[in-house]
């Protein structure tokens, strides 16, 4: 006892030395590891660690050596076990690192862990205008939080996605953010050249100022250091550049910001909206910096107190705040969507890892069975069960660690190179900031995954393999092992098939969706139709001038040679997003939510959508509406829709015509409740028109640009073929189906290997039984049928379970399944058929081999 205390204190003193020096001399982690290892290693004259611990260390060392020797002797086994695990861990870590970079990684500014993002979720209170999302704040609200929060050393606000026209002679569109004056100070950044905003820049009537991003300074101004001395043009206004942000800083969102302007610039850039002093507008995100000694929960409580004060001033309003560590993607609804999507992907990739783990478990089980003799001897000479489990599990741990190491190599080697290429292939991908270099969170994830994988495939075989009835085993070694282990193997096959089905059915659905997107008839003619968009920004288009320009511009574009017809639409067909309205139908007490599009009368002829009955609007007619045929059937079954009355708020409209259904919205359920309402040429600033042209789009685009430039040279004109919208859909389904196909091929291959391995093993072990049966008169085909039937039983069970889970999960995929039902029969019938075929083949192959040798010889040999 005394000795143990003394030895304990001796080790303590050594560890104390290590700690003292590590802290005082700022040694690195590698030094620490080496020193600690040097303490626990080697024979000691003193018992520095307790006997038991020492023995365990020695055992672990022996086990590792033993396992490595076994792997060296059987490199095929090691490679077959390690490769799929490496693939699984590498891919999963890669996917997670992308998610981490947007959802959890701290922002690229000094002391980023102190930053919190603040959003509000509220009910009641006065009517509120929303720009972006309801969870955003108004400027007066921001000021209240800034002045009353005690737990923050600073609070900033910013507004995303301000697309403006830069320049006059050669205009270009750039997207930046509006920020409060303290933005750079609170984030702890200073401009690379120039200065921060001054107080004068930030008051409402102050001089317009902007800070450029380093990237925009380089691309638009060639890195000219004199940019500070002369004004630049934003939306037709002269604006002073006060500074250029540090290289590489593009704001703290996922979308890169090209410039930073004070919030007071809102009234310069968009004078038609009064954002400044209105307390009931949602447009700002808040980011606070916690004081050194303040925990996240304290900051939450403090800010909630301020929120409740605001609630008291606005009767009926209840606010709850969402205060989280700041990350690139913090806006709550977007964050929810991304997390949900990413978890589907992670689960899918995780399933592949599970299938791979099940294969390794299978291999280990088979090996454990083949090693019954060795284990029996070990037990006979005194090994305990715990000792055996430790030894068997060490092997699994080594496979998992080697797999993780291989996975990391895969990740660093390919994934980081792949990511920029992937981003570049997406529309606007180069405007997105994703930093997927691994940080601590990613390392923890990879470590956790490795441990979980090791447990998943190592624990069961270790427990099974270490079950030891010496007597029985010594006698039985080499003979058929039946019973418990057979059941376990059946379960493994079933589980693999179930996992595989869960992946294959969604993959089948996605490839059906891809096929649908390529062969899809939207019900309108998208060929030779161009979408032309302009945004009227700046002082020229204020006070009703915008509407006049709009009218003239449309007239001049339709008069261009090559233009057959032109139409206006509030929503461009197959563009993402939808406009919805709540309407009442005469004679129906219920309110209905319908999709609406405001269009000009020519919309239907430009797109070739036939009017089935009735007529289109006449120009200037405001109280009319058209419905699609399935909308008519839905709301007025058995009655004539024409002449019926639809009310929305105070506006009453007659249905004047019925048009054929067309897939104009990406939302799958839109066609059956769709209204076309007359467009008015109002003071809209963002204008899109659809033009049916005779010639090619390029020629038309040149003509439109030239004509528009004759009216105002500072306008940016975007011209795109309408079929591009279809192409976006096709690209999306292509990526989704491609990833799914790759995953399911991997899963199917792994599952086939699994079935093959188990069957091959079982038939070899059962040669004795087969020999007896055949000696008693069974034929080869009898045997084949018997083995097949026994294998296909767990396969069938696995299929049933897999189909049930896939069907339950398929609804999650609905948003990407364009034109295919989540219960598409072809996917649900085809997948099990293919799986059964693969399983049959994987059974047949080893069975044939096993039955070729003469079973009687096998019998004699025992």
């Amino acid at each position: 006892m005394l000795l143990r205390i003394a030895s304990h204190r001796a080790t303590d003193a050594e560890l104390g030395d290590v700690i003292e020096e590590y802290v005082a001399a700022r040694r690195n982690a590698w030094w620490l590891v080496r020193q600690v290892l040097s303490i626990v290693r080697g024979p000691r004259s003193h018992l520095t660690i307790s006997e038991r611990g020492n023995e365990m260390f020695a055992n672990v060392r022996n086990d590792i050596r033993y396992a490595l020797r076994t792997f060296r002797r059987n490199p095929g086994f090691a490679a077959a076990a390690i490769a799929p695990i490496a693939l699984g861990i590498g891919i999963n870590t890669g996917v997670f690192s992308i998610l981490n970079s947007v959802a959890w990684r701290s922002l690229p500014v000094p002391d980023a862990e102190e930053l919190v993002s603040v959003y509000q979720d509220f009910r009641g209170g006065p009517r509120r205008l929303v720009y972006g999302a309801r969870t955003l704040f108004s400027l007066p609200e921001y000021r209240t939080y800034r002045d009353q929060a005690h737990t923050l050393s600073g609070l900033i606000a910013y507004s995303r996605e301000w697309t403006v026209t830069l320049g006059r002679e050669v205009p270009q569109e750039v997207s930046g953010i509006l920020v409060t004056c303290n933005y750079f100070d609170v984030l702890g950044l200073s401009p690379a050249i120039g200065t921060n905003f001054t107080a004068d820049n930030c008051v409402r009537s102050g001089s317009p100022a902007v800070i450029l991003s380093h990237a925009l300074w380089k691309s638009a101004f060639g890195g000219d250091p004199h940019v500070l001395q002369r004004p630049i043009v934003l939306n037709g206004h002269d604006v002073t550049v006060v500074g250029v942000a540090a290289a590489g800083f593009d704001g703290i969102d996922m979308a890169k910001a090209a410039f930073f302007a004070p919030t007071s610039m809102a009234s310069v850039l968009r004078p038609e909206q009064d954002l400044q002093d209105n307390a009931h507008i949602s447009w700002l995100t808040l980011i606070g910096r916690r004081r050194d000694d303040v925990a996240l929960s304290q900051a939450r409580a403090d800010l909630s107190l301020v929120a409740s004060r605001i609630d008291q001033e606005q009767p009926g309003r209840t606010t709850s705040l969402i205060v989280e560590p700041a990350a690139a993607l913090s806006l709550p609804p977007a964050r929810r969507t991304v997390l949900r999507g990413a978890s589907i992907v992670l689960v899918a990739f995780g399933l592949v890892l599970l299938i791979a783990a099940a294969n390794v478990a299978n291999m280990l089980l088979a090996r454990a069975a083949a090693r019954t003799k060795e284990i029996a001897i070990r037990v006979a000479v005194g090994a305990t069960r715990a000792r055996l489990i430790q030894q068997l599990f060490t092997e699994s741990a080594i496979i998992a660690i080697a797999g993780a190491a291989g996975g990391s190599l895969l990740f660093w080697g390919f994934f980081e190179a792949l990511l920029p290429a992937l981003l570049a292939s997406l529309p606007d991908g180069q405007l997105v900031r994703v930093d997927a270099t691994p940080d601590r969170t990613v390392l923890w994830f990879a470590l956790g995954l490795t441990v979980a994988t090791a447990l998943a495939f190592g624990l069961m075989p270790a427990l099974q393999g270490s079950k030891s009835d010496v007597h029985a085993m010594m006698k039985q070694a080499g003979m058929a092992a039946k019973g418990g282990r057979g059941l376990l193997r059946g379960t493994l096959i079933g589980a693999q098939i179930a996992l595989c089905t869960m992946l294959l059915i969604p993959a089948g659905l996605l490839s059906r969706a891809l096929y649908a997107a390529h062969t899809f008839d939207p019900g309108f003619d998208h060929r030779n139709v161009a979408v032309v968009s302009i945004a009227l920004r700046g002082p020229r288009y204020e006070n009703g001038n915008g509407a006049i320009f709009h009218e003239q511009w449309v007239d001049r574009v339709s008069a261009l040679p090559g233009v057959e017809r032109i139409a206006m639409a509030g929503r461009i067909p197959l563009h993402p997003g939808r406009s919805q309205a709540t309407v009442r139908i005469a004679g129906d007490p219920e309110e209905h939510v319908v999709d609406v599009n405001t269009v000009s009368p020519d919309f239907f002829s430009v797109l070739g959508i036939p009017i089935l009955r009735g007529r289109v609007f006449t120009s200037g007619e405001q109280d009319a509406a058209l419905v699609t045929e399935s909308t008519a059937r839905r709301y007025w079954p058995g009655a004539d829709a024409i002449g019926q009355i639809i009310t929305s708020g105070k506006q009453r409209r007659h249905v004047v015509g019925i048009v054929r259904d067309a897939r104009v919205s990406q939302a799958p359920d839109a066609a059956s409740s769709y209204l076309y309402l007359p467009a008015s040429r109002d003071s809209q600033r963002e204008i899109s028109v659809l033009a049916r042209t005779r010639g090619d789009v390029q020629g038309f685009a040149t003509a439109v640009r030239a004509e528009t430039a004759r009216m105002d040279g500072s306008l940016v004109v975007r011209v795109q073929p309408l079929s591009d919208n279809l192409a976006v859909l096709q690209t999306l389904s292509q990526i989704a189906a491609g990833v799914a196909a790759l995953l399911s091929l991997l899963a199917l291959g792994l599952a086939a290997i699994g079935v093959y391995g188990v069957v091959a093993y079982v038939v070899t072990r059962r040669r004795r039984e087969v020999g007896i049966r055949m000696a008693l008169g069974a034929t080869v085909s009898d045997m084949r049928r018997l083995i097949l039937a026994q294998t296909l039983r767990p396969v069938a069970a696995g299929l049933a379970i897999g189909i049930a889970i896939a069907a339950a999960a398929a609804r999650l995929l609905q948003s990407v399944l364009f034109g295919v039902s989540p219960f598409d029969p072809i996917a649900y019938l085809g997948t099990p058929l293919m799986m059964t075929a693969v399983a049959t083949f994987a059974t047949w192959l080893p069975t044939r081999r096993a039955l070729r040798s003469d079973p009687v010889t096998t019998l004699r040999s025992e």
């Binding site: 204190r9 104390g16 030395d17 700690i19 020193q35 290892l37 626990v40 520095t48």
Partner: protein, 111 residues
């Protein structure tokens, strides 16, 4: 029989380091002293193996101090050279000097 006992080179170095440090001879300064004077990196584990051996042979003795927070609440183990250690050290030195006698020009003299 102390005089006949053999001291390894590293054992001598460790004993000398303890003598040099006097009252302050515990793990960290001993290691630093050795590293500084010999330019040789020594791991904590290797040092303590030697210290334990020297204590077993009765050349040094050790005592634990009160635990301190900068060491994660662990004690320091201070070492002192016992007379027996001093005697062996002296014997080693004499043996070495005897062997060195007259060889300096040959080994150290260069050219």
């Amino acid at each position: 029989m102390a005089g006949r006992e053999h001291l390894g080179e590293f054992e001598q170095i460790v004993l000398l380091a303890i003598l040099r440090l006097g009252q302050e001879a515990y793990g960290v300064p001993i290691r630093i002293e050795i590293e500084r004077r010999t330019g040789r990196a020594v791991t904590v584990g290797a040092l303590y193996r030697t210290l334990d051996r020297l204590e077993d042979k009765g050349y040094i003795s050790s005592a634990f101090s009160q635990p301190t927070p900068e060491r994660g609440g662990r004690s320091k183990r201070y070492f002192t050279v016992r007379p027996r250690g001093l005697r062996t050290l002296r014997a080693s030195r004499q043996a070495l000097s005897a062997m060195w006698e007259g060889l300096e020009p040959l080994v150290l003299g260069g050219s």
